[in-house]
């Protein structure tokens, strides 16, 4: 009888682990993404799925540049290839978009007399030129409660 129980437990163990793993994954927030609206506001265009990427700067170098620019040692939540310009007056080029979960509150200040509840920073990031490895600009998004 003991042998049967042990055999049943052995057979069910992987199933149990799978259930637990699924539960853990389900409880974790999804990595930050740039919606179409975000891309429009931030003047960033993400490559379509399956597009070939030709970049002389690798993802690791882009991540290091982004971490240095943003003053963080956190691992990025997402590294995406796309097209962006430093400013809207300049031509778009191939870039790495390095996204981090959360991050510092937006820079600057508030309107005079504002009583602003703390915002939730959804993501911060840096746009890295995929040819030179230079950070072209930083960006971020927060939501007001």
């Amino acid at each position: 009888m003991k042998r049967v129980r042990a055999l049943v437990a052995l057979c069910l163990a992987p199933l149990g682990a799978g259930v637990i793993a699924s539960a853990v994954l389900a409880s974790q927030p999804p990595p930050p993404t740039l919606t179409q609206y975000d891309q429009q506001q931030l003047a960033i265009s993400i490559d379509t799925v399956g597009a070939s990427v030709s970049a002389s700067v690798g993802q690791e170098q882009a991540v290091a540049a982004a971490q240095s620019y943003l003053g963080t040692t956190a691992a990025p939540a997402n590294v995406i290839h796309g097209q962006a310009a430093r400013t809207v007056s300049e031509a778009s080029r191939g870039v790495w978009i390095v996204l981090f979960d959360g991050g510092d509150q937006p820079p600057g200040g508030v309107a005079y007399g504002a009583t602003v509840a703390p915002e939730t920073v959804l993501y911060t990031g840096a746009i890295v030129d995929d040819t030179t490895g230079v950070v072209m600009r930083g960006f971020g998004k927060a939501r007001t409660p």
Partner: protein, 243 residues
């Protein structure tokens, strides 16, 4: 042709002139260093919003604000993650805004100066962009314009457009402010060397061109900072603890 008789006096004159030049350059350097060195105001940390500048609610809604803003280098303690800034702003009441200027804050273990643009779209989103900062002690024209036809705010540095973001609101006021987020930080400007918003202009809906602000109200956080309107379109700010 210099005769031998004149050689010695000329050398003396040259030496005297050289000395004068050296003294003048040293004085100039000392003046620049006095004005340019970040000044610790030696105040206890107190987190908050401290502003020195102006707000204007014109009768016609504003469609633009611009100012030649001094690229000041204030003392920043690093106690606030947001840091210190000088910026221009188009806003709706005190809830929605787009602002553009420079910011100095602590990033990791270092202090950085950068150009920043923060933009609230009116749908609960707050987007921002940052670019590497401009040279300190120069003056930069930061400009925001509002396009009524698509409700976009456009952001310009010295006439070059940096970004273009959409909103669902129309501004009803303009602002020009120096700002800190902690009393331990220096409000841009010294008592003897103010931080300048020079050549400040606004544009109003239905009125063509740019004009000097009028009917605006200067505000500052007393007693640690001061703001002053000089002439028709210049605003000076400074930290009262920084000589």
């Amino acid at each position: 042709m210099i005769s031998a008789r004149h050689k010695k006096p000329l050398r003396t004159h040259l030496t005297f002139a050289t000395c004068l030049a050296i003294v003048a350059s040293l004085l100039a350097a000392a003046t620049v260093a006095g004005a340019g060195t970040p000044c610790n105001p030696y105040r206890s940390s107190q987190n908050g919003t401290y502003q020195a500048g102006t707000v204007g609610y014109p009768s016609a809604y504003p469609t633009g604000v611009q100012s030649y803003t001094e690229e000041y280098d204030p003392y920043v303690s690093g106690l606030s993650g947001i840091g210190t800034s000088m910026s221009v702003m188009l806003a709706y009441n005190n809830t929605l805004w787009g602002q553009f200027g420079w910011n100095k804050h602590k990033s990791g273990s270092t202090f950085v100066r950068e150009i920043f643009q923060e933009h609230r779209d009116g749908m609960g989103n707050d987007f921002w962009n940052t670019w590497s900062g401009r040279t300190v002690w120069t003056s930069t024209n930061y400009e925001i314009t509002y396009n009524p036809s698509n409700k976009h705010l456009d952001y310009f540095v010295n006439g070059s457009q940096y970004s273009d973001l959409g909103t669902n609101w129309t501004p009803n006021n303009y602002e020009v402010f120096s700002e800190t987020q902690d009393l331990a930080d220096q409000m841009p400007g010294n008592v003897t060397s103010h931080a300048l918003f020079a050549s400040t202009y606004v544009s109003l809906h239905g009125i063509s061109g740019w004009s000097a602000p009028s009917g605006d109200t200067v505000h500052f956080y007393s007693p640690t900072s001061y703001a002053l309107k000089v002439g028709s379109n210049e605003y000076d700010t400074w930290d009262t603890n920084c000589p």
